[in-house]
């Protein structure tokens, strides 16, 4: 801890002076207080608002406040709320979207307007949680502006724990009990008062103005000893060494079902967790849908709608969801952010209505052993995520349920995308839609959309001149450069041909730089084939086209069967070949297996994955698949990097 003049001792009866200093500049002090018999975090007007003479008794599924008869203010270790309630509020307006009478679309982001806060009584685990949220919400390419503004304007006054609650395991997670960084001031409570240290220049200025005196060596030693006792009291219920790998090795453990029998999938653990960040957007519309307010609210991977896409749910069972939560918190978070997601505050243990204890579950599912290999680095896709307005030039049906839209952007940067990228389409009153770009034209963006729900149906029903909002292009593209000088086999199933068409465009633009190029295209029926008017042009450009349908129609004398039949006689082992596959997941699995048999190694086969996307920029958490955010790390992945995840149920 950084303190120019060393630790200061503030007598208990002068604590009010600290609060006065914190109030300066119109700051609101937020800290623990007892309201209606419950411990909450709320605005504190004075010292009397602090939980004087209260202690917590916590055990799995149970929380009680017990009077101590003493005068300590920080004996309650924590309650249901964490600072997340104030820096990442449960409901936060994001912006307004309007469609005017002339069909023009306008979007107005809600500018951050953070209250000036002083967070008082923040524990070491909570500081660690804030640091984690800094990394997740403000440390990547896309930043949550509201969070950042709130964090930057807040003063943080930590309280070092001098007692542990029964569930605490910060020592195991390496996040406490000592307060090391991220604070402006730290207080350690002794019987007579507080040992105060500064953790920042702002903190030093505050310490200088406190009515205290230098702390004696005995007081400093007492404070250190009390904190050390907290560490000793915890033991090491969670062995963090190698935990990530141990847990990921157990994706098929029967224990997941055993926990699922107890788990209510009620989302309480994710709500009380100080690092859980998954959100969803709720749309609040006026009766005509002309003015729509988008509000970001806390969501949870335990909810039904979280992993749902048109056609099903990627995590239908409770066991899938519990596994997602535990493996995210204790394994894939490490891959995503370089740290564990858990800080050991034990809120999930106390506030679980049926008292499920993650320490027990980790010990049962992934008992201690050995360390990890590094995951291969993923190339970053740096793309703009701003909202832009585009105008529909025209549209036409490719097939009875698929429509191609030609969109003219006002911002030319929208056209600078790469094959395989997608855009988030915004329509007033509708949830955001992730749509693949089927062609980047010289002056227009072309999307091929299948009407699969009300939002896509509304989109394809628009006429020329209509406006919609667009964010993108987003996501990791097909690695076309890997196919230069090599043979390329492209396998498309159904609408999967749409995100692959830009690859064909790239090949045709530089045909001599590629070897043999084969397109194997499977569709439901001959009438369901896309881009039939371009087939001749592809073949003329030297792309070998094989087509096959699930069902024939009268007059069809082409192939009938599954798309892998088009690959059966091929031998791709003679020359290095790259594979790009897109279609329903089951079709992709079968194709990858056949390609492997035919000589294309998994590291050279690329697939485009689909998951439930809401924000498209890796902040809402919905599209996670193991350690990956499909919107940001994908949607294109190599089969090699997906490993066992590819084709795994309920992931």
């Amino acid at each position: 801890m950084v303190t120019a003049g060393g630790p200061v001792f503030l007598p208990r009866e002068r604590l009010d002076a600290l609060l006065d200093l914190l109030h300066e500049g119109g700051r609101t002090i937020v800290g623990p207080t007892v309201r209606d018999g419950n411990l909450v975090l709320d605005e504190l007007t004075g010292v009397d608002d602090l939980p004087v003479g209260w202690r917590d008794e916590q055990s799995p599924g149970r929380f009680r406040l017990v009077p101590t008869g003493g005068s300590r203010v920080f004996d309650v270790v924590n309650g249901q709320m964490s600072p997340k309630q104030f820096v990442f509020p449960p409901k936060q307006p994001v912006g307004t979207m309007q469609r005017d009478a002339d069909r023009a679309v306008r979007f107005a982001a809600t500018p951050p307007d953070p209250p000036r806060l002083a967070l008082l009584g923040v524990r070491a685990c909570e500081l660690a949680a804030l640091a984690i949220q800094d990394r997740v919400l403000a440390g990547g390419t896309f930043v949550d502006e509201d969070y950042r503004a709130r964090r930057e304007s807040a003063l943080v006054v930590a309280a070092q724990c001098t007692r542990a609650s029964s569930g605490c395991f910060c020592a195991s997670m390496g996040t406490g009990p000592e307060v090391r960084s991220g604070h402006d001031l730290a207080l350690t409570e002794l019987d007579e008062g507080f040992v105060v240290t500064a953790g920042s220049p702002a903190g030093e200025r505050l310490v200088a103005r406190l009515p205290g005196r230098p702390a004696t060596p005995a007081e400093v030693a007492q404070a250190a000893a009390d904190v050390a006792a907290v560490r000793a009291a915890q033991g090491e219920p969670v062995v963090i060494e190698g935990l990530r790998d141990r847990l990921m090795d157990q994706l098929d453990s029967p224990r997941w079902q055993e926990v699922a029998d107890r788990c209510l999938a009620c989302a309480n653990c994710t709500m009380v967790c100080p690092t859980c960040f998954c959100t969803s957007t709720a749309i609040s519309s006026d009766l005509d849908g002309t003015v729509n307010v988008a509000e970001r609210q806390w969501d949870s991977c335990f909810n039904a709608g979280f992993a749902k896409v048109a056609g099903g749910n990627f995590r239908p069972e409770r066991s899938d969801r519990y596994r997602q939560w535990l493996t995210h918190k204790f394994a894939t978070w490490v891959d995503q952010f370089g740290m564990y997601g858990c800080v050991g505050c034990a809120r999930c243990i106390t506030w679980c209505p049926v008292g499920i204890d993650v320490r027990e579950e980790l010990a049962a599912i992934a008992p201690p052993t050995v360390p990890a290999e590094q995951m291969p680095a993923r190339p970053a896709a740096a793309t703009p995520g701003r909202f832009e307005v585009v105008t529909l030039r025209g549209s036409h049906h490719e097939t009875p349920d698929t429509t191609t839209l030609h969109l003219v952007p006002s911002e030319p940067a929208l056209l600078a995308g790469l094959p395989g990228q997608f855009v988030m389409v915004e329509q007033p009153g509708f949830p955001s839609l992730p749509i693949s770009v089927s062609r980047f034209g010289p002056d227009e963006l072309i999307l091929t959309v299948r009407a699969a729900g009300p939002a896509t149906a509304a989109l394809v029903a628009e006429g020329p001149g209509a406006q919609v909002g667009l964010r993108g292009p987003l996501g990791r593209p097909w690695p076309v450069e890997r196919a230069l000088g090599r043979d390329l086999v492209i396998v498309a199933g159904g609408i999967g041909l749409a995100p692959l068409r830009p690859v064909l465009d790239a090949v045709m633009a530089n045909r001599d730089r590629f070897g043999e190029v084969v397109l194997a295209y499977g569709a439901r029926t001959p009438s369901d084939r896309l881009f039939t008017d371009e087939h001749a042009a592809w073949q003329a450009a030297g792309i070998e086209l094989g087509q096959i349908v699930d069902r024939a129609e009268p007059g069809w004398d082409g192939r009938v069967g599954v798309v892998t039949h088009l690959l059966d006689r091929r031998d791709f082992s003679r020359r290095p070949t790259i594979g790009m596959v897109c279609g329903p997941e089951r079709m992709m699995q079968a194709t990858v297996a056949v390609l492997r048999e035919r000589g294309v190694a998994p590291e050279r086969v690329f697939v485009s994955m689909e998951r439930h996307m809401q924000c498209g920029i890796g902040l809402c958490g919905h599209c996670q698949m193991g350690p990956y955010f499909v919107c940001r790390d994908g949607p294109v992945f190599s089969v090699g990097e997906l490993g066992e995840l590819f084709g795994k149920e309920g992931v």
Partner: protein, 278 residues
């Protein structure tokens, strides 16, 4: 867009859910301009036998006449939306499903044969396909407004199938179950009410009915460990007791109910308040 023709009809119910539409005082005029209420006996004498673009149906099917009527109404409605616990789960009247209905009828009415009643009062979806549900007893005005707005805009209505717990946590309400020892069914119940009862330090009694993944077995076991046995079964025998996830436990509470001479298995203390320790 053409003004949708809206009908509001009731089966066996208290009318409270229909009233929620009339309670939308601030929006009523605007609603009136955008929807044509062609049939709504509680509000207007204007009548129509259909066709309806949207038909809101309140109440459970409790008589043979209603059973026929709902099939006819379904044929005349493009979208049929059930509103309230009676229509979606059977309601409080479904508790008679465990009883001896003919025996009661005979005990209560002098000319019992004049009363036509089905042995079971059941939700609408047991008779006809339902396009959407608004849960609750009564339904939530905000959810009703969202349904009507979604109809206008053309989107799916945002009616999340998640636990009441999320709403409590978002509102900063401390859990009455964990911190108060109240036998709250919130974790099993579909949200929509804004966590009304926990907001008054009361346990949720599941008037919105069971949500997807309602793990009755687990919470039931937990509550039994904290409180005595029969009390827990009674918690499920409420407004949505007939809903399949709750039915078994509700049935145990209702066993022997209404049978002459049998002792009720309902405990006399009727306790379901906050932990006595506090």
């Amino acid at each position: 867009m053409a003004t949708p023709r809206v009908g509001v009809v009731k089966m066996a119910s208290c009318d409270g859910c229909q009233l929620t539409l009339l309670d939308l005082e601030d929006e009523l005029l605007a609603l009136g301009e955008r929807f044509e209420l062609v049939e709504f006996p509680e509000a207007t004498s204007r009548r129509s036998d259909g066709p309806y673009d949207v038909l809101l149906v309140e109440g459970s099917i409790s008589t043979p006449e209603q059973a026929e009527q709902i099939v006819e109404l379904r044929a005349r409605a493009k979208l049929l939306v059930t509103i309230g616990a009676c229509a979606t789960a059977g309601g409080i009247q479904a508790l008679r499903n465990w009883g001896d209905e003919p025996a009661w009828r005979a005990a209560v009415y002098p000319d019992a044969e004049l009363i036509e009643s089905l042995a079971h009062a059941t939700p609408i979806h047991e008779y006809v396909k339902v396009d959407a549900e608004l849960r609750g007893c009564p339904i939530d005005p905000g959810q009703l407004l969202e349904l009507l707005t979604a109809l206008r805009v053309g989107r799916r209505p945002q009616l999340p199938d998640e636990a009441v717990c999320l709403e409590c946590k978002r509102l900063g309400r401390v859990c009455v179950l964990v911190a108060g020892g109240a036998p709250c069914l919130g974790p099993l119940t579909q949200t929509g009410c804004g966590a009304l009862c926990p907001g008054y330090a009361r346990a949720c009694y599941a008037c919105f009915g069971p949500r997807e993944q309602a793990n009755v077995a687990s919470l039931g076991r937990w509550l039994e460990a904290e409180r005595s046995g029969p009390g827990v079964d009674r918690l499920f025998a409420g407004f949505t007791g007939w809903a399949p996830p709750f039915r078994e436990r509700a049935g145990r509470a209702m066993s022997g109910f209404g049978t002459a001479g049998a002792e009720a298995s309902v405990p006399a203390d009727g306790s379901d308040g906050v932990d006595d320790e506090r």
